[in-house]
Amino acid sequence: MDLYFINKPNLDRLAKSLSKTYKVFAPVKSDNKRFYRKIGENGLGDSVIGEIRAVEPIKSFYFPARTKIAGYFSKDDSDKKEKPIAIIGAKSCDLVSFKVMDYVYAQEPFRDPFYISKRETGLIISSDCTCYGDTCFCVAIGIMPYPTEGFDINLSELDNGYVAETGSNKGEKIIKGYFKLFQSADSYIEKRDSNRKKLKEDLLEHVKKSRIPPKDSIQPAFKGKFDSSLWEEVSKTCVECGACNMICPACHCFILMDQKKENGFERLKMWDSCLLLSFARVAGGANPRKRLAQRLRNRFDKKFNFFPDMIGRFGCTGCGRCAEACPGKIDIREVLSKLQTT
């Protein structure tokens, strides 16, 4: 956990250099939203290191929407050498989502080699949020708007550069390898800490109006509302598009799909949505969640009841992407508040 300072031109040099060994991605702004873009020899350019999370969840890089995972009866050809992934500008909520993904995909006895190899070889240079989005509510569920763990290097943006904190051996090695790009952070730490404190306070103020129950009462409140009419009510505007699942950094469910290929067949692993009618259906038509309200409740059950029991934290990072993506205007914050009020 060493602290350094890196100025903006030097971060650009670092990114350019990393792009020789990594596929480097950093967010750029478009239409007031942030999207990851691949960084090459041209460096960071107009990348936005601070501000808030990108539109895409970080799972897109480690567990892509569609991955070929097997051929049929042929030697596995999925280990062809690909450059590892480096993300610059991942946010606290993104890092928290790895807690869920790691639990699912690294769990014994069957570990997912595709996810694990990307995680093991990947590099994460995260950054503090410097503002909040309208749907952001991380602090309401105990997550800070700045990374506290799970990064190799974290950047806290200041006027002319960044406080860089190491979070892993890999991060330390990088900083040692590019030591001349870094300088002492001593005169910048106070500013970083006051920025963090201010943003946390502003965000706490922002989420107050959502009336989300205190973190520790969410799971008991959910249990108490299992048979409530709340789920029928909330599901009224759900159109079963699955956008909330796709955009969620902590939604890990997938479906295996087999298809024909030029020389044989291949098996794909694709993101799936628990809001879809077929999700839990078995051959013959039996389906434990025939009604949409049951499926919507299942989403909250998994996030706010299952994961707390399994890993001691929510399957939700407070990123607010689902509230932004939902065409039915179902807002996760409202649902959480209704756990306590209705």
């Binding site: 596995d76 997912d112 080699p113 190899s117 997938f254 098996r267 692993k269 628990c274």
Partner: protein, 276 residues
Amino acid sequence: MMIENPYLPIKTEVLNVIEESPTIKTFKLKPEAPIQFKAGQFIEMSIPGKGEAPFTPSSSQYEKDKLEITIMKAGRITSMIHNLKKGDMVGLRGPYGNEYPLFEFEGKEILLVGGGVGLAPLRALFLALAHDIEKYKSILFCCGSKTPSDIIYKGSVLDKWQSLDKKRIKFRITVDKKDDNWKGNVGLVTTTLDKLDINLKNSVTIVCGPPIMMKFTTFKLLETGYKPEQIYLSMEKNMSCGIGKCGHCRLGNFYACKDGPVFRYDKINHIHEIWD
């Protein structure tokens, strides 16, 4: 790749197809590399390029390099499987999930209750029990089918074993609806649970069948005096990956594919939606 790819199917030859009933067939399979399953565990069977579905082998776990899978034509994949012929190639992955805890059944009076194609895992269990029959006090195998023509394993279990150890092994076979030639019991499989000649205190019961049959059989067993911890259920859920990752088969805090598919009823009776 350092970690073994758990999604890779093993090339498997269809050795034989046995027509059990108008809707149910048993496929005798020989995988290129042996799949050493234990009764109760399941495998994922795939048709190249078409898709995959979970099935519990119905053959004996002691048969080393071959296995049998009994499949009802019920959906897209199972319809394609029903078109398979001797010599065709399929894919298999597994075995996955837990097995029937045979050691917990030792010295007990064992009641097996199966309905329709749900007899498949029970056949594997029955064959494992019969393999060491002296370890168990008795087996009563209650089998329910819709009509006499829907009865499966006529040649392989019923005829063969009915004549064997009569003292230890007994069968009760019933059909929901009889035909002109049927002389046996008529009624739902729950009716075979009337007048059980079993010391309930020293008994375990294992149930497998369609969801509605499992539900009413379990309730009937409870009514009869079985305790939840004496009842074992093979739960059918949508098990897609088979390894606790894809999320489809979640049952409360369990995944049917890795924590099941065999569950003792007292472990799951508090979970919502288990019978649907």
